[in-house]
């Protein structure tokens, strides 16, 4: 049963396995009724307006207003595309997986309605290759939708068409970046493209393209069915709606929780996820996936969980994935894990990211081995600064932001770890350091 603090809208009836079938979707949540209504009786502008009025912000990371983005697509007869971003590869994020696995038709219906809003005739779901099972589920659901006449040519006899193809990736985080996704979908290496031109103007195969996250699109049917006001009753002024939040790391009940945005972060962690494991305490969190600047427990707990509050606190809500580091976690090691991820995933196209990530990893490795000096911490910070704002896409920044936050906020711990490592390597025998988690507590 959902927790009292949860607000299940997207995950309504999600515990029921029948929801994944067309029949179940129709029976349990009146599925596809919005599609029928929209296709049969609504004009493109009407649908678009509902989306714009709702203030729905993208759930993939950047938080850009979805309706507005759809309105950027030029009108006209040219071939336009919709790409659903189901690449979900950011450490800490696993909400799209749940939404696709448990409620695939909600996504398909959302795609079909969004396509209508932007005059699009061809859509793709780009799903990460690791989500094989979820891709199978989507494939089956898409087939059902085609058979029921919700996809394909002349949908429900309305002379409107939509082709939908599930395209599996093959293991590369960068493909979640929207323009890299387009390259991957065009059969190339997933390298981000220069912007401008933005995809809304020139995207897939050079045509105008709308790219949205799975969760963003999953919100579409209900917004169009129930209206912007209904949607805005949830969340805050600037972060309307509900959000599926993935919580993981040092908590008792890791998992996806759908909340009304603006819920106190403390409730999210302590009430929904059950708080830290017995005998431990929360030291720091990534509030919005591994690319969000780390907040100390003290900074984070009293913040409402919303786009604006996280931004004000110098971090971000991103994809809405909270990773909790408890007091046993060594922040320098966590910084190294984080950097390693971005180093591994950097596409290599642009210099600051390709070289900055590998250099940062090498330096952090020296830190944890005790082969570094405090000056190296300054170099690490300066390298993060040199990455930020200089890359082709924001993958580089995505490492630089959390790493520099960690070095800044936990500098004492870095110095301790360096010293401890030195001791271990016999560099400085006079230094005796307590390596216990207690001794390595947060610097905050």
């Amino acid at each position: 049963m959902p927790h009292a603090l949860e607000t299940r809208v997207l995950l309504e009836h999600a515990e029921d396995p029948r929801l994944a079938t067309l029949q179940g979707y129709k029976e349990l949540v009146d599925g596809y009724s919005t599609l029928e209504k929209a296709y049969r009786s609504m004009e493109q502008d009407e649908v678009l307006k509902a989306l714009e009025d709702s203030g729905l912000r993208g759930r993939g990371g950047a938080g850009f207003a979805m309706g507005k983005k759809a309105s950027f697509l030029p009108r006209g007869d040219m071939e336009k595309y919709l790409c659903c971003n189901a690449d979900e590869s950011e450490p800490g994020a696993f909400k799209d997986r749940e939404l696709m696995q448990r409620n695939p038709h909600q996504l398909i219906e959302g795609i079909a309605i969004a396509a209508l809003a932007a005059g699009i005739g061809r859509a793709f779901i780009f799903i990460r290759g690791e989500y094989d099972r979820q891709a199978d589920i989507l494939d089956a659901a898409v087939l059902e939708a085609y058979e029921a006449g919700y996809l394909g040519e002349d949908i429900l006899g309305t002379h409107r068409n939509l082709e939908l193809v599930v395209h599996r990736g093959a293991g590369a985080y960068i493909c979640g970046e929207e323009t890299a996704l387009l390259d991957a979908l065009e059969g190339k290496r997933g390298n981000p493209r220069l912007k401008p031109p933005f995809p809304a103007v020139q995207g897939l195969y050079g045509g105008p393209t709308l790219i949205n996250n799975v969760e963003t699109l999953s919100n579409v049917p209900r917004i169009v069915a129930k209206g912007a006001d209904w949607f805005r009753q949830y969340g805050t002024e600037q972060s309307p709606g509900t959000k599926v939040v993935s919580i993981s790391g040092g908590v008792r009940r890791p998992g996806n929780y759908e909340i009304s945005l603006g819920l106190p972060t403390r409730d999210l962690i302590y009430e929904l996820a059950g708080g830290p494991l017995p005998g431990r305490s929360v030291k720091a969190i990534y509030p919005g996936g591994s690319s969000s600047p780390v907040l100390t427990a003290a900074e984070a707990m009293d913040l409402p969980y919303s786009f604006e509050a996280m931004a004000e606190a110098g971090s971000m809500l991103g994809s809405g994935s909270v990773i909790v580091a408890d007091d046993t976690v060594s922040i320098p090691h966590m910084a190294l894990r984080t950097a390693r991820f971005y180093h591994h995933e950097s596409c290599g196209k642009c210099t600051p990211c390709r070289e900055g990530t590998n250099w940062t990893v090498k330096m952090l490795e020296r830190v944890v081995r005790g082969e570094a000096t405090p000056m190296d911490l300054d170099i690490i910070s300066s390298v993060q600064e040199n990455i930020m704002g200089h890359c082709l896409c924001v993958l580089g920044d995505s490492m630089a932001m959390p790493v520099s936050a960690m070095v800044r906020k936990f500098r004492g711990e870095f110095e301790q770890v360096m010293a401890a490592g030195e001791a271990e390597h016999g560099i400085d025998p006079h230094l005796v350091v307590d390596l216990s988690p207690e001794a390595l507590g947060a610097a905050s």
């Binding site: 979900e88 950011e90 800490g92 749940e98 690791e130 093959a170 065009e186 996806n256 991820f341």
Partner: protein
């Protein structure tokens, strides 16, 4: 004044490459777009790739799916398989190899009959992902099973977890690695209790460490 160290004059110690004196021979033949007739593509593979190409407005879009098909057929993206796909798609094998080598799940060198990816990213690492990887490595020793550490697989709720032949399992303890590999090799269902599919909707139950 004599120039320092041969500067300005021919330095007799500098080697002249044999390209200049006798010419070099290529180590193997260059590879352009192979003709279908040369590559001996199995008909099922050819049909499958052609069907994949038909799904997209531009045939090149099918390159990742086509490479998946090659990998399924041969266990990995073999040079021969890549040439076959290239002949069907009318692209150079170099193009497909370039694409394949970009992606972590496409293998351009031999891997085992089974593939296990163990997540070692932040959330899984916090809950013992490294130890789990070690356990899988040890258990797979000498078997036709490919084990690798992997970045976040999008299942931090079941950390520490592993993807075994493209299906998710977790949370796992190191001891379960051996069990999983035994089951895999004897073609039994792998750790049925730990399958992600069995997991109720998040928040409905507690996941023990």
């Amino acid at each position: 004044m004599t120039p320092v160290d041969g500067a300005g004059a021919s330095n007799p110690n500098l080697p002249v490459d044999r390209a200049v004196t006798v010419g070099r021979e290529p180590s193997s033949s260059p590879e352009q777009i192979p003709q279908l007739a040369e590559v001996d593509c199995p008909p099922e593979l050819q049909e499958r790739i052609e069907a994949l190409m038909a799904r997209y407005p531009e045939r090149k879009s099918a390159s990742i799916p086509a490479l998946w098909a090659v990998q399924e057929r041969y266990g990995w993206c073999t040079p021969e398989g890549i040439r076959q796909a290239a002949a069907v798609m009318r692209v150079t094998p170099a193009y497909l190899e370039s694409v394949a080598s970009f992606y972590d799940l496409l293998h351009t060198s031999r891997v085992g009959a089974h593939r296990i990816e163990v997540c070692t990213n932040i959330s899984c690492w916090m809950r013992g992902g490294d130890e789990l990887l070690d356990a899988f490595r040890a258990a797979a020793e000498g078997e036709d099973v490919f084990v690798t550490g992997f970045e976040c697989l999008g299942a931090c709720d079941i950390a520490p977890m592993a993807s075994i032949d493209q299906r998710y399992f977790g949370p796992l303890v190191p001891g379960e690695a051996q069990t999983a590999i035994d089951q895999l090799l004897s073609e039994d269902a792998v750790l049925p209790e730990k399958s992600l599919e069995r997991r109720p909707l998040a928040g409905d139950t507690e996941v023990p460490r």
